[in-house]
């Protein structure tokens, strides 16, 4: 299963790779990364068929996670990818906006990777 992680923090990439070291090694999960919403969209143009799940930060310079979400929901509906929003500001407004724009789930930083793994497991099966 291919997962696209969108975050302007580059260090998110080694973190995910290490956290999901076993899953990657066992080819259960495959990760791709984008540093902005724009990058994510151009990636999706090519590989939207491969991507099953998109994990996106909300607070990013330029296109925000919510914008990215609404674009994804607008552009890619067959099949609609699963989109989980991640934010440092775990407030109601962000949550409401994320859900309104069709987010499948909402996670807050710091990411609880154990919880994320559980969610991914239910998603796979």
């Amino acid at each position: 299963m291919k997962i696209l992680v969108v975050d302007d923090e580059a260090d998110v990439q080694p973190l995910f790779i290490q956290r999901f070291r076993k899953e990657i090694r066992d080819h259960e999960l495959e990760f791709d990364f984008a540093l902005s919403g724009e990058e994510a969209l151009s990636y999706l143009k090519e590989k939207h068929q491969e991507v099953v799940l998109i994990l996106s930060d909300i607070n990013m310079p330029g296109m925000s996670g919510i914008e990215l979400l609404s674009k994804i929901r607008h552009d890619y509906d067959a099949p609609p990818p699963v989109v989980m929003m991640i934010t440092a500001y775990g407030d109601e407004e962000n949550h409401r906006q994320a859900m309104q724009n069709g987010a499948n789930d909402f996670l807050t930083k710091p990411l609880d990777f154990a919880l994320l793994k559980e969610k991914l497991k239910t998603l796979i099966h």
């Binding site: 923090e9 260090d11 080694p14 973190l15 290490q18 956290r19 070291r21 909300i58 607070n59 310079p61 330029g62 296109m63 925000s64 914008e67 440092a88 500001y89 407030d91 407004e93 962000n94 906006q97 930083k109 710091p110 990411l111 990777f113």
Partner: protein, 669 residues
Amino acid sequence: MKIIAKISLLLLIPVLVHAQQHLPDSIIRALKSASNDSLRYRANIQAYLYFEEINRDSALYYVNQTLFLARKNDKQLLIARALANNGYQLTNTGHYPEALKNLLQAFSIAQNPKNASSSWLLAPEPTPEKSRLLILCLTHHMFGILMDRTQNTEQVLFHFKEGKRLATEINNPQRILIADMNIGNTYIDLNRIDSALIFENEAKDIAIKIGQKKYLSYILTCFGDIALKKGNKAKAKQFYYEGIHSAIEQNNIATLMRGYLKLTSFYLAENEKDSSLYFATKMLETIKILGPTTSQQINIGVAYENLYNSYKLRKQLDSAFKYAGLALIAKDSIFKKRIENLAQFQTLSFREQLHLQDLEKEKVVYQNTIRTYALLAGLGVFLVIALILYRNNKQKHKANKILENTLTNLETTQTQLIQSEKLASLGELTAGIAHEIQNPLNFVNNFSEVSMELAVEIKDELKLGNIDEVIDIVDNIEQNLEKIIHHGKRADAIVKNMLQHSRNNSAEKTLTDINALADEYLRLSYHGLRAKDKSFNSNMSTDFDSSVPKVEMIGQDIGRVLLNLFNNAFYAVQQRKKADGDSYKPEVKVSTKLSGKFVEIKVTDNGTGIPDNVKGKILQPFFTTKPTGEGTGLGLSLSYDIVVKGHGGTMDIKSVDGEYTEFIINIPV
């Protein structure tokens, strides 16, 4: 010559008698036709002047008419004039106390300049003030005569001379001549013949020059007296005769009588029995025409006495005896009356003197009082001024104190405001800082956790003997620890920055990397705003010139400036986004450039721009376009101060309303 004189005089007498009994027709007409008091007064004064030296009773009558009219119309100056004239007539008729009263009253009126205009007639003087001085002059003249008749010789000259002084002051030749004439006569009495001659000569010259001959006879008689005193009998007699001629010509009974008396005495001294009898008779006639005359030298008693002497000289003893008796009775009566009058006068004048002394005392007291009052008033004024000054001073002190307090308050308030501006920007920063710290902390935590997991894995792999795998994991751990250190330091730097930012005292200038500073604050600003408003978003771009050297500056101050500019820029794009919607792409740019001796920092946004009417105000303290409570209005003003005053730099603004805003800061290297 004696005969010629006699004949000429005898011829003239009927004319004289005729003249003295009737007013001229013109005056009678004027008296009858006078339609108002002004005209009535005019006619009556003419009538008085006509009778002045002809008949005392008539003169008194008309002068009282003028007094009545003047009083009725409250013409003070004319009242004084009437009183002076009345005083003169009363003096001549021996009523010295009344004369004194009248003249003193005349003085008190004429001496007051306020009464100058209280008159109908300006003539003969052209101005009210001159008219007043004329009346004053007249009064002095009359008073001099009263003093003469009452033997107050020491005062006679004073008043005549005062009269002359005033007459000269108003340039009135008629009064000058009368003054000269009287002064001359007084000098005769004082046996100062040369002085007398000078004055009488001057009087005569003026009289002839101006054609005023009413008293020429008197002057001539004086010349006669002078000549007699000089022992020139012929010349004396000639002057006396000329005097009589002039008196008859001028219809002046008083001086005529005087002339007759002089000649009677002259002839009696010469034992000329016919002439002495003739002039003694004439004198008696004229004195009866003139009316009561009671001076010491000239009175009806003297007339009788002269007749007695004349008859005695002629050895006509019956007549002599008769006139001796008459003289005795008249003299006795006159003497008694005179003594009585003089006594009254003396009492009165004594009282007057006392009164004057009192007045003088009062005057002194009054002046002293006035002086005292003036002094007190002055002191009062001084005190008041002093008090006012003191009060002003005190108030000034108070005001100063208030101002000082206000200033101190203001300074405190300003400091507080600056502090609150710092805190406000700190508040704006807090969210950004939280975010900025949260992120590295997350990484620290996550990488630590992962590393622990990896450590467990190493143990497992070692048991399995997978050395390659262990090396791989150790590499990861090493990388993770680097990340942990990196993010730990990142958080550390942010906290230090925050502390620096909120610190009060101005820090030392240190070499600062402007590019790093700009980047850091751009992020802080962005995340701060994002934290506040979740819907907020904007593109950010940086264009840093790597050749920009480190610059001596107070980092946190310039940081605050940049934070302000970024906040404003983000605010502007946010506002425009709200207005323009999705089609609008918000963008905030920061660029640095080394240009000459300056580092240029440019902050550009494509937001709402600055309206032209606001451009001039944006650097003013407390000016803000933000809703109340959102901005202190101090941001740009403080920024300007920091850049320009604190760092000797410049701050320029370019903006097109609705398009963009660009702040350009230049800081000297």
